[in-house]
């Protein structure tokens, strides 16, 4: 009897423990639903996750302005926005997609650029077809097709990004460089002049390895794509290889800048923030970067000087310079979203050129707009932008046509060159080709 009672109690203890566990398991997250208001109009919460960082000063478009204005226009729609840095974003969005828990609206990159790209995600059936939305005809042809796969539009870009060379006009004038270098020879001479005057010609943030792409793609635009715009298609069909002369040439030209000391030594120890710091402090005359970095590169540093921006001239004398200009990342819609109608309502309002939200977006958007009829808002880019508009000599950022991972190999192997290893430019090209062959299956 005594024994029995005790046994009872211990079994009870066990059951309680089990119950505690199951209560915990099922109790978790039971609060997700309950958005249906009892009245007539349906209250909807839309979720949106993007990459990037919060604006430190003033209003952030995606985090502050967008949700507020959407809610004012559609009182029944609440938009919840979250921002994460690129790498964290990529991990997060992939895991969420794999689990079927993706947000309604999220960040995508054009073509095959980055890990969450239009082509990869649309192939997997994760993206909703946006082709029929009324504002599509207002987006420039190129930007639309970069966000498409198999003739269907899956994303809306933030705008257009250019790679280029930011330069310190005061330092250029000081050493007697009177005009923007127009070809490779002139560029090298300008660097030499700066170096002779004791000025560091170029600083880069190669510790963040993607910076290597900033220079390499501008040079490749001239050596590879100026002669053959379809190089990457031929690469995919196996007709061309990275080891062909043209890519090796681009890499060799880039290597030359490091060998001659034009690009500061030690760049492998500098991250992006430190490199831009040196530029705005007036410690280096140039930096290769994109238009997205406008706020940092124009911030007030230790020195006050005038900035300029020109495409890195990788061309032969007499040839036109080719630029690396690309459709920027943008937004896509989850194909499995439970509120597709509401999402489309929001997009139609947002991208309607006559809406107040659109005007606000244009005002706060650092990228050059891909919408027809929106003027350029930063004078710094006027030179490059007019060149791009008039000549049309431009190519997308090369990695957008490669499986994600090839650019990574470029960074790793070219990093070895910067670090003074015995790696040759041919080694870099063949490593890129090997990685391409490994990843290009489909």
């Amino acid at each position: 009897m005594f024994q029995g009672k005790k046994k009872m109690k211990t079994i009870l203890a066990g059951v309680t423990a089990l119950a505690a566990t199951t209560a915990l398991l099922s109790g978790c997250g039971s609060s997700d639903k309950g958005e249906e208001s009892s009245g007539g109009s349906k209250n909807v919460t839309l979720t949106m996750i993007v990459s990037g960082n919060k604006a430190a000063d003033g209003q952030d478009f995606e985090l502050d302005v967008l949700p507020k204005m959407v809610n004012e226009k559609f009182p029944n729609i609440k938009l919840e926005v979250q921002k994460l840095p690129d790498d964290q974003y990529n991990t997060s969005i992939k895991t969420k997609l794999a689990a079927g828990e993706a947000p309604d609206i999220f960040r995508v990159w054009p073509r095959m650029g980055s890990a969450a790209s239009i082509i990869d995600l649309s192939k997997a059936g994760y993206l909703a077809d946006l082709t029929d939305l009324p504002f599509m005809s207002n987006i420039s042809e190129g930007a639309r097709s970069d966000m498409s796969n198999d003739g269907k539009v899956y994303g809306i870009t933030k705008g257009i990004d250019m790679l280029g060379t930011y330069y310190n006009k005061d330092l250029f004038a000081e050493v007697g460089i009177t005009e923007v270098p127009q070809d490779w020879q002139a560029f090298l001479e300008a660097c030499q002049k700066l170096l002779d005057a004791g000025v560091t010609p170029i600083v880069m943030g190669d510790k963040d390895p993607w910076w290597i792409q900033f220079g390499a793609y501008q040079l490749a635009a001239n050596t590879v794509y100026s002669a053959d715009k379809d190089f990457d298609l031929k690469l995919q069909s196996g007709e061309k290889k990275f080891t062909d002369e043209t890519w090796v040439k681009a890499l060799s030209m880039y290597k030359e800048l490091y060998e001659k000391g034009y690009i500061a030594k030690n760049t492998l120890g500098l991250g992006g923030p430190q490199a831009t710091q040196m530029f705005i402090d007036g410690k280096a005359a140039m930096v290769f970067d994109g238009t997205w970095d406008f706020p940092t590169l124009t911030a007030q540093g230790a020195a006050t000087f005038e900035r300029g921006f020109f495409p890195l001239p990788g061309n032969e004398p007499g040839q036109p310079v080719w630029q690396a200009v690309s459709t920027a990342a943008g937004w896509a819609v989850n194909a499995k979203s439970a509120h597709l109608e509401e999402v489309k309502q929001v997009l139609n309002y947002w991208f309607d050129s006559s809406s107040d939200l659109f005007a606000e977006w244009v005002k706060l958007n650092p990228s050059i707009s891909a919408f027809n009829g929106v003027p350029l808002n930063n004078d710094l880019y006027k030179y490059s932008y007019e060149l791009y508009q008039s000549g049309g000599n431009s190519i997308y950022f090369a990695n957008q046509m490669w499986p994600n991972g090839v650019a990574d190999t470029l960074q790793v192997k070219f990093g070895e060159i910067i670090g003074g290893r015995k790696t040759t430019t041919e080694d870099v090209a063949s490593a890129m080709q090997a990685k391409f062959d490994e990843l290009w299956k489909k």
Binding site: T10, L25, K54, A56, G100, W292
Partner: protein, 277 residues
């Protein structure tokens, strides 16, 4: 006696120097956090300016109070459950000396070597398969799970070394059941090691952004580290580092306060707990 005082002063100077060196990198961050947002000159120019603007921006943009509330909720629930579950689990493992106990002990300990970044996709699929919705509370499951190995290790060592079976004897004679013996007699005696568990697990759960990032999709539900992540730059975005540092100190402040109060118990808990074990 004078020599004694001199020696003591020297010791103090020595220790202060070593510790100053230790927190020097944090001083850089602290000084940057006291700058105005637009002051982007080199952060190594220490304390060139004193402004609380960065704190104000960080406070607003992170929705600090809301995020703090979320952080507290996540951490407190997780830590309470960890303490309950693992102290319970450790009890039989420590008390019963047989193969099963040993196997369980090692089995739990093994979990320590597996990094969560790697297993995240299967984890999320498992949670999905169990039809547990992805919400503000989902990370708690993983916080608890990942805390099990180390906490049960601490508890087992402590019970084995410091809670002799004799303390339960009178209760046994009275015929007290397992539940009463554990909750009324053993559990209160575990206080020192409980403090250690609370600090060691509380700190990582408080700072973790990984599981939060995977499961939480709404800004209003974000805890502090996730809200802070928004100030980090990336490939196409500059880092707002004055604000980031301010955010970081705001985020660590509650921990600092907690540690300052609990450090005495903390070290004590480890003393009798793991170390004697």
């Amino acid at each position: 006696m004078n020599g004694g005082i001199a020696k003591k002063t020297l010791t103090h100077i020595g220790i202060s120097f070593v510790l100053l060196l230790n927190i020097l990198p944090l001083l850089i961050a602290l000084s940057s956090s006291f700058r105005s947002v637009s002051n982007m000159t080199n952060p190594l120019q220490l304390f060139s300016e004193f402004s609380l603007e960065s704190y104000r921006v960080a406070f607003d943009k992170m929705h600090f109070m809301q995020a703090l509330g979320n952080s507290l909720m996540l951490t407190v629930i997780s830590v309470v459950v960890v303490v309950l579950f693992t102290s319970m689990a450790a009890y039989p493992i420590a008390r019963i000396n047989n193969r099963l106990s040993k196997a369980l002990y090692l089995f739990f300990l093994c979990g320590l070597v597996v990094p969560s970044q790697m297993v995240i996709i299967p984890i999320v699929q498992t949670i999905q398969g169990l039809h547990i919705p992805s919400s503000q509370y989902t990370p708690i499951l993983m916080f608890i799970t990942c805390s099990i190995p180390f906490s049960s290790f601490l508890y087992t060592g402590f019970i084995k070394s410091s809670i002799p079976i004799e303390v339960e004897e009178s209760a046994l004679i009275d015929g007290a059941g397992l539940m009463r013996r554990f909750w009324q007699i053993v559990f209160p005696l575990l206080l020192p090691v409980t403090v250690s568990v609370v600090i060691t697990q509380g700190v990582w759960i408080w700072n973790d952004y990984f599981f939060n990032m995977i499961f939480i999709s709404r800004a209003a539900e974000s805890p502090l580290p996730l809200a802070m992540l928004g100030f980090m730059g990336d490939q196409t975005n500059p880092t707002a580092w004055n604000v980031l540092f301010a955010a970081c100190f705001l985020c660590a402040l509650p921990l600092l306060v907690m540690f300052a109060f609990l450090q005495k118990y903390f070290i004590g808990g480890l003393t009798v707990g793991s170390v004697k074990g």
